[in-house]
Amino acid sequence: MLNLAVQLGSTKTPEAVLFWMLAPLAVLAALGILMAKKAVHSALLLAWIMITLAIFYIAEDALFLGIVQVVVYTGAVMMLFLFILMLVGVDSSDSLVENIKGQRASAIVAAVGLGGLLVSLVGRATLGRSAVGLASANQGGNVQGLAEQLFTKYVWAFEVVSALLITAALGAMVLAHSQKVHSRNNQRDLSIARFRGASLAAAAGLPGSGVFARHNAVDVPALLPDGSPAPTSISSVLEARGDMITSKIFELQQKEEEEN
């Protein structure tokens, strides 16, 4: 669309230069979203597209919209996406097995349909017509004009949307909230429990990994004063995963010493 606008002469040269520098990058990034194997890379490319769009908005004199696009979409929404992707799996890449039959065909049909719809709509609205109304809309300042529209003409829609968002946020909180059966043990409770326990061996905390051993890595057990490994010094997760190094090689080899 902007290409046509350039030919029609309604776009200023710096704006056209900006467009031709950034638009190909945005398209490449969009393709990259589909091609990237890691979900985090896709998310990053999406963030890049959002920033590019914000720059376009600013170039089109929609300053407030551009800045808010960065704050809300890039800063908040994409960041939450990234959060989830990172927490779900640090190294997980998408599974390439297709479970739904005819997924590709229907996806292509839907994409072509949506694209055709958008192109025809936008084209009918802008093709062969020069854009009007920007000067009058921005007359009293971009922010002021937007505020006037939002809080007079569209105030009802605005309030309804905000009510919807608050409801959604509350719903998410209700779904994610779980009633605790017992109150959570705090530091003091845990300390008391250690001292009132059956044995006072762990009263001062569990032994650190690798203490007195020849290595101090987390997967190497500590050695007790008699030279035998202390099983409590290793995280049970590591043990279950099989990431623990067998402690035998770290035991003091007393027999050899005696022979010598």
Partner: protein, 417 residues
């Protein structure tokens, strides 16, 4: 002629010169800030601090920078190479960008051209700073993720959660400034503080901003993202050499950035302190920059002072404080400010305004006193509720029965009071 009109007449080369000057200013500020921080903290801890390299040790940070650059550059095997390299670049570039809208001086003469030391003036300048800050978080998050290691990931997540939550409080604290100045452009906000600084008029906003700017920059006592006792170095654990230097640079430029924004929004920007306004015309207007830098140094000293004084907060307390104290109180304050603003715009009777203000103060006092007394009662109840029945035989501890009954007796009396 207002600031944006004046800036609109800048030719291209002036814009380039200004950009370069701002960059040099930030880098020099960083070098001096690291040195000053180490000297000040040493002074507070009764040490000497770096004093060998150059006069008073002034060249210490330069030497450290060269040392960092000459170190071996490591990329862990498990790291995601591209993102690992991009992350410090994002951090180090975004931190400079917010300075574009900060006004350093009033009208001055730059190489024979009449202008201001401000790169650009946009109607949503302050929002632009917030937007840049939110992009800057990407550097930290990606650094944590791409390192392919546990501690950096945890540090990255912590610090981004922290920056996002404190950015909300920061944004809310700025709303009162927007309402009072009637604009979101930095130069208009400075102009609106000609008579009274907003740190006086909007004191609660100023306090909230001052707290959230420390949280936003991951500095002590809110430096949980790099709590060395828990997370080694946090998001930059796996970084070395110049990449680490970029994060280091970004941290200090960000501190200078939030301080500059605080100066602009709350301390009258480049204006002189009241009573010394005649100094603003000295050196052809360039003396205003001295005032700006003095206020900037004041804020930076505040950062160092906090670091030298306060221990690190616990993470849950920190998040609770952000979401349950700072954000609700700034929302309440916005309500009060906008009501007062509307009253004064409608020329309401002074008695009405005074009555409203007194009412608000009374409500706050009532709520806090109720809260305090409830907390005290709860504390007494907790004291009594302790000592659960042990699940195994325990020899009787002498005096415990007496003291326990004494406590509960005492508590009952206090509650009945």
């Amino acid at each position: 002629m207002n600031a944006s009109d004046l800036l609109g007449t800048d030719p291209g080369w002036i814009i380039l010169v200004k950009g370069l000057l701002i960059f040099v200013f930030c880098v020099v500020c960083t070098l001096l800030a690291i040195w000053a921080e180490r000297r000040w903290v040493s002074f507070m801890q009764q040490r000497v601090g770096p004093n060998r390299t150059g006069k008073f040790g002034l060249l210490q940070s330069l030497a450290d920078g060269v040392k960092l650059a000459l170190k071996e550059d490591l990329i862990p095997k498990a790291a995601d190479r591209i993102v690992f390299i991009i992350a410090p670049i994002i951090s180090a570039t975004t931190c400079f960008m917010s300075f574009a809208v900060i006004p350093f001086t009033g009208n001055v003469n730059l190489f024979g051209h009449k202008t201001l030391m401000q790169l650009t003036d946009i109607p949503v300048g302050v929002l632009y700073v917030l937007a840049i800050a939110s992009v800057g978080v990407y550097g930290i998050v990606l650094a944590g993720w791409s390192s392919g290691s546990t501690y950096p990931l945890l540090g990255g997540l912590r610090s981004s959660a922290q920056v996002i939550s404190y950015e909300v409080a920061m944004g809310l604290s700025l709303v009162a400034v927007f309402i009072y100045s009637g604009s979101m452009s930095t130069s208009d906000i400075v102009a609106a503080q000609h008579h009274w600084w907003f740190s006086v008029v909007l004191f609660p906003s100023f306090v909230i901003y001052a707290i959230s700017m420390v949280g936003e920059t991951n500095r002590a006592p809110f430096d949980l993202a790099e709590a060395e006792g828990e997370l080694v170095g946090g998001f930059h654990t796996e970084y070395s050499s110049l990449k680490f230097a970029l994060f280091f640079l970004a941290e200090y430029v960000n501190i200078v950035g939030v301080s500059a924004l605080a100066t602009t929004l709350f301390m009258g920007g480049y204006h002189a302190i009241p009573g010394l306004t005649f100094t603003e015309s000295w050196l052809g207007g360039w003396f205003t920059m001295v005032w700006f830098v003095i206020k900037l140094i004041g804020f930076f000293f505040f950062f160092v002072w906090l670091r030298g004084t306060l221990p690190r907060m616990r993470y849950d307390q920190f998040m609770k404080f952000g979401w349950k104290v700072l954000i609700p109180s700034s929302l309440f304050w916005i309500l009060v400010v906008s009501t007062l603003r509307v009253m004064s715009q409608r020329n309401e009777n002074r008695m009405v305004i005074a009555g409203f203000t007194v009412g608000i103060v009374l409500i706050i006092v009532a709520i806090t006193s109720f809260y305090e007394s409830a907390k005290r009662k709860q504390a007494i109840l907790d004291e009594v509720g302790e000592f659960p029945e042990p699940s195994f035989p325990v020899p009787a501890i002498p005096n415990i029965a007496i003291s326990q009954s004494a406590i509960s007796q005492n508590a009952k009396e206090q509650i009945h009071d």
